[in-house]
Subunit: 323 residues, 2 copies
């Protein structure tokens, strides 16, 4: 466990008003850390507000404490003693929630992204942590706050989802040790597995079948390309949020080094997701298109239709990597 | 850690000759425990033989110590002081290796199957262990044998594969704690993940696509049925061993309670695999066809062609569960 000289939880007072926020396009780690820390803070003080400004993803609605999540509205004229910003590398990723910061005395920035811009008045940054939930576990343990099954479940979700369920190389001995500790709070792994992995719609599965049959392999098998048009989504009656993980199937093919998923979005633009398997750096690739991310997972928005975006990407890879 | 009154490793002497064997149709836990214990025993005594009598599955050939595995041949006329039988519920599951037992002074039966028939002269049975590898980790730790990266890697493979990579409900706090300890021996999780999950042939992926598009859902969405003919395997140029995990996709569909995978085998027979998600007991179902297994994963061999087998199974489920 990391020893904290200045655990921000020690600064929180019983009569404080606190906001807990995270990045747009919520995922398992942002929601797990929002709710894990949010529920813990509720044990310390009375006025804790957990805000998200997107739709809450259907698949995470089983998370304990879900009912405490609200939408922030500037017209509420609320002021906060502390705003905890979780799992968010920079202020732009906060979207609308960014406006909360100007109404907060202190901004506590808790994150594991190596690119974090240290925008907080207090910054708790650990790029070797698997997930923000892993850092929050440390903070709570250091503060000797008694966890319960709900908090433990939320934190476990962050660990599990940000590591590809303990597959990606951000998984460490520490990650497994934290998972073991969380299991001791009687979290229901059966229920979690069911909700995360065993509850896929048949439309989703049929769509995946289509994608796997039709994805294109190029550059001597090193690039796998998935192209998704709105027509295809309509044909299978699925939404883009449900099928994000499809790109992992492309990456996991023998010989594939870079997987690309292209999705039509409004305004003659394409949202591109990139995954790399071993050596290729897709963070650099995404940056060429004005995007960003991690070495092995990144994204960008590209002008044009799916076919044009594909050509631009293949050309860029040819230039950068000679494939 | 379990405290062992009679750790069988303490009985092994330096000049002993030892066999280590496991069940037919090897999987990650049988191979991981064979090699994990085999490599450890080699540190105690000189003559350790690790036998399997099937082809070694291609996907596990990255396992450390793979080169030590040999095939047992009765004509060798070898005698053994100890035969360690790993991850094997009953003697029939040993196949040809069973003949080794009559040439062994002591049979040490190490297993986590609840149905284990206690066939050993020494029985180390822990049905609450995630995997046989988890039990072997305990035995080695209790014996204070210094693990190394190779042993740790083998044991990790058993933990990971028998728990569906820490998803199934045999995963416990203990399982995570053992995984954390194994990580401390510098096992290469990136390499393991690559070999287990990120190295699928494109044929395999195209085949999966076909299966997902065409699997049949019946009984108000509670049964998902996958039917695999030899023609289909030929069309996609895949072998049946490569695509066993396809059944999990069927189980993981929302509303599906029982997944069935039927595969044509020789002699006008069908090999049926069963998976259940929550309450249904597919061990009972498999027994109706002369097969067996766990509550949530079982199998049987059924007379007839794929279509006939399907009808028999649906009829049986109708009788047993009223679906």
């Amino acid at each position: 466990m990391k020893a904290w000289k200045n655990n921000p939880l020690a600064l929180v007072e019983k009569n404080n008003t606190i906001a807990v926020i995270s990045h747009v396009e919520p995922d398992g780690d942002s929601l797990g850390s929002l709710l894990g820390l949010g529920l813990a803070l509720k044990k310390i003080c009375g006025s804790v507000y957990i805000f998200i400004n997107d739709d809450f993803p259907q698949k995470y609605k089983f998370l304990p404490g879900y009912k405490y999540i609200t939408t922030y509205d500037n017209s509420h004229n609320m002021d906060f003693d502390f705003c905890f910003v979780l799992d968010c590398g920079d202020l732009q990723r906060l979207g609308y929630s960014q406006s909360i910061l100007s109404r907060s005395q202190n901004t506590v920035n808790v994150d594991h992204h190596i690119s974090n811009t240290e925008f907080g008045s207090i910054n708790i940054l650990q790029s070797d942590a698997s997930s923000t939930c892993e850092i929050i576990y440390d903070l709570l343990e250091d503060f000797q706050l008694q966890l319960d099954v709900d908090i433990a479940t939320c934190l476990y979700i962050g660990l599990a989802t940000d590591t590809g369920n303990f597959v990606y190389d951000n998984t460490t001995a520490k990650t497994f040790r934290v998972a073991a500790d969380l299991m001791n709070y009687n979290i229901n792994l059966n229920d979690i597995s069911y909700n995360l992995y065993q509850n896929k719609s048949i439309n989703n599965i049929r769509f995946l079948g289509h994608i796997l049959k039709h994805m294109e392999i190029s550059s001597n098998g090193k690039i796998a390309m998935i192209m998704i048009t709105n027509n295809l989504l309509e044909e299978y009656n699925v939404t883009i949020n449900e099928i994000d993980s499809v790109i992992n199937y492309a990456r996991d093919i023998k010989g594939v080094e870079i997987a690309v998923m292209l999705k039509e979005i409004e305004g003659n633009q394409v949202k591109a997701g990139f995954r790399s398997k071993q050596e290729a750096n897709v963070s650099t690739l995404a940056q060429k298109f004005g995007g960003g991310g991690h070495k092995k997972a990144s994204g960008a928005t590209i002008k044009g239709n799916v076919k044009e975006a594909r050509e631009k990407i293949e050309k860029q890879i040819r230039i950068d990597l000679g494939w």
